[in-house]
Amino acid sequence: MKKAAKQIIFYSALIGIWALIAKLHVWPPYLFPPPWGVAEALWAGFKDHSFWIGVVVTMKRMLVGYSLAVVLGMILGLGVASNKFLEETVGGLLVSLQSLPSICWIPLAVLWFGLTEKAILFVVLMGSLLSVTIAMEDGRKQMPKIYSMAGRNLGASGFRLFWSVLLPASLPFIVSGLKQGWAFGWRSLIQAEMIFLSLGLGQLLMMGRDLNDMNQVIAVMILIIILGFIIDGLVFRTMERKLQERWGLVPA
């Protein structure tokens, strides 16, 4: 509760300073909009459904692209972790590919798929995939060997060994990678949407720029931050905490 109080005071102060600067008219309102202008833009955006559509379209792309990345990343990561040849070849390639910002895949995606949904999903996939793959590989390697031995000892093999032992045993080691994959994918998606102009939050942001509507620009930025916070801060952090409690890594 104390933490919440601190946060409320902090954000109120932040908005207060913002309002004060806006009131002083240091910069013209079309460059530095007041908080009430942004609030109005948020209200209007949700009222005419354009923000709702943006949020739904963006989240849908994110979920589809990210799910693809998780499934592919797990297969790739496990393959690399369990095969010496793959580790020495594909493993090195993955690490070097990670240094490529995923926005760099956009030209390729556009040429391959055109200005379509597929191209956007491809960019999200490339944004998330490498993090998830590398996390899965690390997790599989860091996972104490005793669990897989105990599983085999108790009669597990093949897919059941993977599903009931290897996957849960490596979860604490891959959850941070899953989180990182989400964050990378999220950034890639917004970037792609800004270039693509195809609904979504990125497009709303660019539309604000095109119309010289600073209120909308800031409103969409806030929306992106809030969505990111909800997923990152709430969903993933809760998952991490639950895992740690179960494993006894932190007091429950």
Binding site: I146, A150, R152, N153, L154, W247, G248
Partner: protein, 308 residues
């Protein structure tokens, strides 16, 4: 000893009859105490038979290390066999071989006359580190092996209850393993292994990390459970007294390469207690033979350090 150790046991079992009771009929089984005659059982076929087992591997410094050298050993059905030896003699490796988790370089392991190729639920190993699954509750841990054996849910539920009661952990069925004490975790591992109803239970220094009191208690419980379930147990330890306390027979292994040095049949009446004079006397005798091997292992360690 002022009190008789017999008093400590809930269901005293006549010596020599233990291990022959209720095999494979744990849930339906008669209470152990009702069996008074020696049941007929074909003891001519060994339960577990090791024939010329050798294992060698290359160390990081490319030297050939012989861990196990030509080990032959027969274990009778229902026997409680203890294996002792200095640390590094390969006794733990031997258990992994019988469990089918490692592969020997020569020789063959037979269970019921059939060659072992890989793991199987007829032989369950309780690891020194236990390897309980931290993402599962106590009950789910116990259930795991049965699930893998595709035992129907209703039966699994019944057996979870039975085995948790057997190890006195019914109250902790929904706890996670990190919430339990060392002795309790040990009992979860025991219940998890027993629940798959293996013919052979392989135990790798299971009580080494426990305090003396907990260990004594678990000795009693293990002896009782062994008597009630009639499993064949191969129990590895470096504690000679523990081996004499529990075993029908104690096998002494040599230090690197691991060989069978000597076998000691233990005919002391059960139930036994670790503080008994007879146990101590027998242990002392075996310890004399073990001392030589321990000295060898210490010398080898010094030599390793010098060469470094």
């Amino acid at each position: 000893m002022s009190t008789s150790p017999q008093n400590a046991y809930p269901s005293p079992v006549p010596a020599g009859h233990v291990g022959a009771v209720g095999r494979g009929s744990v849930l339906r089984g008669k209470p152990a105490s009702s069996v008074t005659i020696l049941p007929v059982r074909d003891v001519s076929i060994p339960k577990v038979s090791l024939e010329g087992i050798s294992l060698s591997y290359r160390t990081t410094s490319k030297a050939q290390l012989v861990a196990l050298d030509n080990i032959s050993l027969q274990v009778r059905p229902g026997e409680f066999l203890c294996v002792v030896g200095p640390s590094g003699c390969g006794k733990s490796t031997l258990l992994h071989l019988i469990a089918g988790l490692y592969q020997q370089t020569a020789g063959q392991v037979f269970v019921d006359g059939k060659a072992v190729n890989g793991p199987g639920t007829d032989r369950i190993l309780i690891f020194q580190e236990l390897g309980l699954f931290p993402w599962l509750t106590v009950a789910q841990n116990v259930e795991f092996g049965m699930k893998m054996k595709n035992i129907p849910k209703a039966e699994r539920k019944e057996k979870i209850q039975y085995y948790l009661r057997l190890v006195h952990l019914s109250k902790f069925r929904d706890s996670y393993t990190h919430q339990l004490s060392g002795g309790m975790r040990q009992r979860v591992a025991l219940a998890r292994a027993l629940a798959t109803e293996p013919d052979v239970l392989l135990m790798d220094e299971p009580f080494a990390a426990l305090d003396a009191q907990t260990r004594d208690l678990l000795h009693d419980e293990l002896e009782r459970i062994w008597a009630e379930t009639g499993r064949t147990i191969i129990f590895v330890t470096h504690n000679v007294r523990e081996a004499v306390r529990l075993g029908d027979r104690v096998v002494l292994m040599t230090f690197r390469p691991g060989r069978v040095k000597q076998e000691f049949p233990i005919s002391l009446p059960r139930p036994r207690h670790i503080e008994e004079v007879d146990v101590a006397r027998t242990a002392k005798e075996i310890l004399g033979c073990l001392r030589e091997e321990i000295n060898k292992s210490i010398e080898a360690e010094y030599a390793d350090e010098k060469s470094r």
